[in-house]
Point group: D3
Chain length 298, copies 6
């Protein structure tokens, strides 16, 4: 079991979603929450009881302040957040249903983190007392300086013997600043201990074809088979998986248990509105242990 602080680095955005299954602006109301791949992982880890710091660049205005308060509310330390820049990235989400897919409209260009300089974060300071660092393939896709910040981060982590996990998370709508994903990501994964991704992520992010031995990855899938019925929120499930996996690799007895735990965390996250995995350790443990009946607990 590794001791010490867990660090995650990336963007966090304002998420704006119409109520329930409504289409954009069907009502003049938007549900306004915060989220983003790495921030979701940070919140997941904090709610599972780990000591987590989030590193990001967030503007010094009321929107940025509300975002930081939300992270604090979820137990995430924000003292390493840099208050700088003009705007928090925004993304609009329309919840799909059946044949109608969910729609994401990004409005994240020129965000505080995209425009931060690669000198803005002192990684040596950030990694003091740290044992684990989580990053994803989203941040390096935003801008050249964000890619440089990411690369510096993993290199410094390596030097300081901090373990590094990376969720490849290929986003085709990003990567517009002149570099391709494989150019940057193949460099980043050199410093990574654990990479997470599906087949497409691996191919698009790294430019390599991965042969997955499906047999060896078999899970007790039966207890999740009803999952497709009523997905409350499709966004953030992969991030909850990453949080569960990091927790499991550090706190559980073996990799198989870690994987079961990760799947349970992800499964719960699909039932919770919003990006953030508002889970508890007890809930994930119970579900991983097989209690998924859905009956009223009283």
């Amino acid at each position: 079991m590794i001791k010490g602080k867990y660090i995650a680095f990336g963007e966090i955005m304002l998420r704006l979603k119409p109520p329930q299954q409504e289409r954009f602006f069907q009502s003049p109301l938007l549900e306004a929450t915060f989220g983003g791949g790495e921030a979701n992982v940070a919140v997941g880890l904090a709610r599972l009881g780990l000591d987590v710091s989030y590193v990001s660049v967030i503007p010094d205005n009321p929107i940025g302040e509300a975002c930081i308060r939300e992270l604090n509310k979820q137990g995430v330390n924000t003292t390493s957040v840099l208050r700088k820049g003009d705007r928090l990235g925004v993304y609009f989400l329309e919840n799909g249903s059946n044949q109608r897919p969910s729609v994401v409209v990004y409005d994240r260009a020129h965000s505080a983190i995209a425009e931060a300089s690669s000198e803005d974060i002192n990684w040596n300071e950030v990694f003091e007392e740290a044992s684990w660092f989580h990053i994803s393939g989203i941040t390096p896709a935003i801008s050249l300086s964000a890619a440089e910040l990411s690369l510096k981060a993993v290199k410094t982590a390596k030097e300081k013997s901090v373990k590094v996990s990376c969720d490849l998370n290929y986003r085709k709508k990003l990567w517009k600043y002149g570099k391709t994903a494989p150019e940057i990501m193949s460099e980043i994964v050199k410093y990574t201990d654990i990479s997470i991704g599906n087949e497409e992520d691996c191919q698009k992010s790294l430019g390599v074809k991965v042969d997955i031995d499906v047999e060896s990855g078999k899970l007790q899938a039966d207890k999740y088979k009803e999952l497709t019925n009523q997905i409350v929120d499709r966004v953030g499930g992969g991030d909850a998986f990453a949080a569960g996996l990091i927790y499991g690799l550090n706190r559980l007895s073996d990799d198989r248990d870690a994987l079961e735990f990760a799947v349970a965390a992800s499964s719960l996250a699909h039932t919770i509105p919003g990006d953030l995995p508002l889970i508890s350790l007890d809930e994930v443990k119970k579900l991983a242990a097989g209690s998924g009946s859905g009956r009223v607990q009283r």
Copy 2:
């Protein structure tokens, strides 16, 4: 491909529905939107990119004004709407769930369109530059003058070589003014190029038994099989089908494609709250082409 304006004629009502799955007046709130069979078709056609005019009779008060603004918002031309009469028809809808059926309570008697005179609309003017006219079996069921208006409409359309589609839409709670459905509808369908209806509609509206060759109508039904899971709004699906069919017959290469397109439009409409099919051409095309995975698009 037929060029020119598309015309639809009928009532449009205020729809009042409790939030979500609530029963009537469980909360002191009603979702207030507008809809009605033919108006739904008009909105569907406008959102698919066609040039559509809606013909109706709508009172000159704030409720009527809001109704017209909604049609304009959806891209429907309302210059042929007659502002006259005392009230907009109202219908109350309670959303069912599982074994509990949806309930409709009509409060549409004495509506502006039901009390309009058969002289109130100048069909020759309406059909200038028109290529297609859509009507349904609902309007002739409202009142004698509405039936006369409908009959005049289809006759004038025929004279002016405007194609006519009719959704039979049998409503047993209407037809109270002294005529039976077959008396009127069998006359109307004489002037109709395309009639839409299920077996019951045909029998009740026209008084004839139809033998449907089920084999010839087979669709790629597999991609819709999950549809029964989570129907967001059961009302208006048939109207979206009609809109899709009219679009398809006019803009796609063959009848089979038109039918696929109609089914896709209807399928999407079931996932959208409200009567109006708030769809786009791109979405229907994608679904008809087989992309119904429901994954987040980003």
Copy 3:
């Protein structure tokens, strides 16, 4: 067919639930309704058309007043309610979804009914003109005096030839005042004509193992098989079953019909938000008779 008033006795609580599938305090809003096992049965019976009185102890403050007004709204006579005590019991409910179970947090200690004296209710007066009395295993689990009140109630009912039904409803979080469930419940069921419970209820409440002849209890289960799709509210389904059974035993021709009717009532209750079974006689009859298509009724 038994004539006369139906009486139910027990607690009624304020139920506080976050909107939709949200977790506790995800939004700063709680849906505030009233409910409780026996009160749910009383409301079910009233809505089915029977003459029902609810007996309870409810504080004389605005919260208690709102609770009584709700019972009156549902057609339940509240003239036998004692206005006394400091607080109405509260329970917090978080609606589960898929693998995530619903969560109940009780805040019902020291409620008006738990602290009422066993002399506070004059059962002879209550049972005047009564023909049926319903109680459950929840009330005797709250406090010693509530257990004594329950016991007095069933004894007096027996003396006055009032039929008694008891829903065993074992609640492991209660029974904290020094008595075990079997100590009290085995005494209460002596005076009971009809007991309702599943295997676990029987064993935990009465301390006996019941062999259920599953074959003899077979129902036309097919028409309920879709029920697991979209349960709107999991709480109160058993109470609707009890209400349906009591109605059926008193008003229908045989036990089998009563059982079908009870299952239909329970099935409908699962589709309705809130504890209270906001059903109608007509709806239950239609469903029991096989009309569960879920199509729009218009």
Copy 4:
């Protein structure tokens, strides 16, 4: 002090209002409550603790049922309500603010009560054990049969020595069926013990010019002077006044106290959303006694 039941007769409508200060359909939501001049008086009297029956004609559909449940919730006896007719009258209300007046759009033609026959109510039965009857100038303005029903009512009341109060309530948008207000109202007031109205009501309803000796009607107006700041709901204030006056004339020591009590009831009603005066005896008494500080009571 007069003993016995209080009876009120009139329409009750569905009131549909956009949220807060919004204009019609600015959001797709309407607050849906019930109200109407005489029903508001009935609810006021019931909440002040009197034994009140409301007489009306209400359709036998889910909207009518909800309306009756609301009256029961407020403590009004509805056993004399006739379930008949096609629709409940509707009125749309837009809440004004400052220079922008509130707007009412009536959709009440052809309501159940407007179309009831003058034979439909057995007034002799209604007035059994009654001591007071309240009516207003709204009902006779709806339709000829409603005017006949009203006239029959006051005549029968007189014969049975039931005291009659009438709120003149002139409504210029009604009175469309061929009679003028003075033709009917001058007949009705012959049987009335107490009439309520402002100068305009008297002139328009009765066709006579009233000289009001303003001096003799002076009230302790000082404590109400802040009233114009924040009127929460402008509708129903006059009805609360009438309820307060009827209560005061029957239960308080002199007419001056009754008038003070009426003004206090009206003043409270202006602070409560909705038509119905959701007041309590204790509150009105305290305000009439001079406690209008508005401080938090804890």
Copy 5:
């Protein structure tokens, strides 16, 4: 009276505001509407019955589409809107109350209109059949190209004998691209027939000190004196004034009437939630004519 189309040009933004008097993110909800100085004027003119086109640059995504549909709903022609660019500008608004001022947080940098080229709009085409053009000091403050577009617009208008009005609207948070307000605005006002502004606007926009002869501008201010009580929405009042003034100058008999009309329009706009002046000609006329009692109209 000038005939022909009215044209307004400028940005339109997504406005995001917490419910009622809440602070940012106190609830996870934002009211999402559209607005902006010149767009508000366009909507005001359209609702007063004039033929209005809005010229703007709006991105081709679902947010932009919803914005255009809203303009259509309000009767504004949008055929001259250019669909281009990456994002719609956003502004966050927190509604003040008493001593707490309203707060605006702009997130409008890099908006579609700010990044449009000065060649993107063909002003000759836009001004065909136009008689009036409205612009404000906000657009030229956004970016150099927007300033160039504005200048081209007023020059072309002048050439084509289109009257030009300009609301100076000085915004100190803008003007960041290298030019000062007086540098640009003093050029623009050369082509302007009517300029609107308060003392500060004149000084900051034009760099000149204006001596206002307060006496000559006296209005019948008495009927507006209650305005400060309950301002529903403080944003957009000046724009409604401009719309009223433009209407008045073109349709009323003299300047004094135009000014009274403008003040009435502005006064009404303060009572309506949202930026857009959802007024009607009839309402403004009535208020300008002295009917501001605020009584219920029925």
Copy 6:
């Protein structure tokens, strides 16, 4: 200027309030927030930028967890909170308007803090590095052990040279456990450096009559005179005053400035929904410096 941590001690409750000006249960919704006299002060101090710890007893259930997360969100350190006990106290609040007073219904008996033992908190540990301690007259009114805890707290503070402030806050509905307010409070104020209270508080809490030299306390009251117009939330204004005063006494140059600052903080708090004073240092400073115009800041 005193350095070090600020400590506040007391209860924190779940506050349940109907929407806007609605009466209890007029809608089936309650706004659910957290608050309580001393917690409000702690939040105020934290938002003004001080290092604040809250000491309380909060149950280890989801309601308690949400409460703690809210304190963390507002920047209050909760590591000294004891997780123990059965329930969080609840209070129901109905927002008054004009002549209708706000109503508070307490449901706080048997709360975690009321039932904590006087040994449960180690005050020596709590006061490490502390410089200021805030308490109120509410906690000692709850129960004997809470009074003992309070007394121990102030004694230990005195021993450790921590300054003590006490808001007398007399609550007549509490003080039910056998002691009178003066018996306990006269002991507590012996250890207090600053006491806050109005005339009534002093007399009821301490049993002494205070002569207040009104002249010496004169403030620039003019800029607050509009305050009575639109109080958004009447609860918590006194707590914001206390927070402002503590801040001012520690960080501003003299007592007069501290008092002005306190009044400004209180004035802002009246404009913010909820108990918690969601203010910022900048806002209070600006208002204290005379900027209360209420204009839009942009």
